[in-house]
Symmetry: C2
Subunit: 443 residues, 2 copies
Amino acid sequence: MELITGVKKKETLELSEILADGMIGQTVKVNGAIHTIRDMGTVAFVILRKREGLLQCVYEESSAAFDLKEIKEADTVEVSGVLEANEKAPNGIELRMKEMRLLSEATETMPLQISKWKLKTSLEAKLNYRPIALRNVRERAKFKIQEGIVRGFRDFLYKEGFTEIHTPKIGAKSAEGGSNLFKLEYFHRPAILQQSPQLYKQMMVGVFDRVFETAPVFRAEKHNTKRHLNEYTSLDFEMGYIDGFEDIMAMETGFLQYTMALLEKEYAKELKILGVTLPNTKQIPAVRFDEIKKMVSEKYDRPIKNPFDLEPEEEMLIGQYAKEEWDADFVFVTHYPSKKRPFYAMDDPDDSVYTLSFDLLYNGLEITTGGQRIHDYQKLTDKMESRGMTEEGMEQYMSCFRHGMPPHGGLGIGMERLTMKLLGEENVRETTLFPRDLSRLEP
Amino acid sequence: MELITGVKKKETLELSEILADGMIGQTVKVNGAIHTIRDMGTVAFVILRKREGLLQCVYEESSAAFDLKEIKEADTVEVSGVLEANEKAPNGIELRMKEMRLLSEATETMPLQISKWKLKTSLEAKLNYRPIALRNVRERAKFKIQEGIVRGFRDFLYKEGFTEIHTPKIGAKSAEGGSNLFKLEYFHRPAILQQSPQLYKQMMVGVFDRVFETAPVFRAEKHNTKRHLNEYTSLDFEMGYIDGFEDIMAMETGFLQYTMALLEKEYAKELKILGVTLPNTKQIPAVRFDEIKKMVSEKYDRPIKNPFDLEPEEEMLIGQYAKEEWDADFVFVTHYPSKKRPFYAMDDPDDSVYTLSFDLLYNGLEITTGGQRIHDYQKLTDKMESRGMTEEGMEQYMSCFRHGMPPHGGLGIGMERLTMKLLGEENVRETTLFPRDLSRLEP
């Protein structure tokens, strides 16, 4: 029997430790993957890829205790040597190599030149070699930023008194119902994959008042576009005791403000690598669905085809309008038509053609759908009846309303879409680790 | 167009604001659900349930501007009145009610007496009325603690340089393969639900060195026990550049230490409600699989039936042994037999019957499986061949090893099981928000 007492400091250093004051002249040990080797004849530069960035190591036959031929790109190594200042090296520091220990060997040459600053290859190739392509410093930075977004979502909501929940993804019935569900057999019973945690988070409002979840959702939609995925990570929250759906928009604005500040502070390196300028989230315009449709139609001389829905092109024009007229990257479009919203959406008491709901558009792409929900049992059953729905499979959901539910609302944010727009990408697959779409089920 | 500028302070107060210094004598407004009403004739106590706890409100006809009959249990309300000290009230404070505004009405009496301190009902009944049962203060506290566990996992790992990832749950093939997979049709192609993010997190070690994920996993196991679920939340991490699988155990010990400190600091209220004493995580014994089997067999006079596996009863006895001999709640059991571990597990170079892997038992229940993985391409293909496996469907996973992977390992922790043992529960369903098992697919 031996005793495990926790994490011990390692002899090998991370990049932030190397970059600390007073390290120049020190002999240190580091490990990493060989990102690239530039052999200049008398001297060679061996670039190590570490999780915090790149470290330039200098090889000279006279000072190194090993042969340069012993290492090659994509091997992983542990090296020791003296740190020296060199303003031409990344971060102004380099390591003069002495000892080297091979940790693992690559057996094949790389299919992509990941050590190039920009991976000059197609999205298709990047996805086909996903785990290799992501070793490129810019490619991986995208997912570090994505981490920051999700972290910001959670930390902000903890601060605002929300409780994190974990709801089941396999179920008997789904919130929105219909044809967009993946079906499976669950021990000889028909089951579905949840396309949203909607009913669960509403039920949990009766318990915790404010809840959130960051988890996968599944949509069997036969869309093949740059903005659709069949599985994505949804950032969901739901909150009780609201005065109106404006409270939901205010909370989302607060999340965006908090997260941009977090990114600026903790992910500055990655923002710089990707050349990202953070959007202004100080104030976000909110405008009615019917009004913005009219405004866009007039400004861009485009007839309104369907007064009850927004086409993707219309969303883009709304983004353009918001930028041109209000210098806004984000815009809340409020009061969506009731017939385009699910049964649980609260209709506007002043005009039941519309709902107390909204979408958030980010540079012309919908990244959030949210709104106030019906909390009154009778109103809920009336609306379900008017849509020909029954309580079957939703007994517990319905029972919450019979046993008192506060006025509440919430939203769902598409994590990959928010990352995509923040990074100025054109395709949501660029900011999805392993996309699932009509043709892609692997890797 | 109006402008949304972020979260505004509400007029209504939360419990922590009410309990701040200098509030006695103040007139305040609060909202909440009516947890219970105790009508004593001349005076009535109306207990409000808020997310931070209970608030006693006092109703007297002479001072209230409404009739007590206007409210009933499970309604949600907004009330105003003066705060008064009363050492018999929860938290030593109560609100003398003046105004009341009804926010929503319950239409049916409660199926469970949620206002009782302990819900004296069967697990079956609790699950059948899940969203109602969780309104009980003790029931909901369990899931607040669960939040703390997951939060501790993430915050500790961020601090240790891990990157959070989101990997797909629908796939073509799974890490462990076999019969325990839920199958579904994915646009006319056969697909499965991932039973672990294993292959993905390994691939991402080549990108970020250290990664983690907190997400659902799916296991179509036909177990019907107190400790099995068919869908659960797995806390997974994987880390590169390890010196051995001891590094993984050290990291898990660090997580437990960090999380217990977080619970003590941020979740003291819930720990008190549930009467939980936190386990000692200062040091955790690690003992070989074959040795602890022998030790337990000798001490408890129980013959070893199967030298290559642990029966649940044996796990319980190991827990008992660790408590009695080492005063330990946790124990790492190391060097599991190779034939009981998946293909990617690294065999012990000193004796390939065993692997460099471990389970963590918590009071006699396995809550973690982890270990070092094979990082050498040739060794990996050799082991796969010896098991009759092919690379089919794992091409990208295999390519990572051809292009250099550092020595690495990781683990998966069952979130619900860890919560269960921490809270001293006997059934994992007690600490699962909406359990999925052989018979339960709803709610």
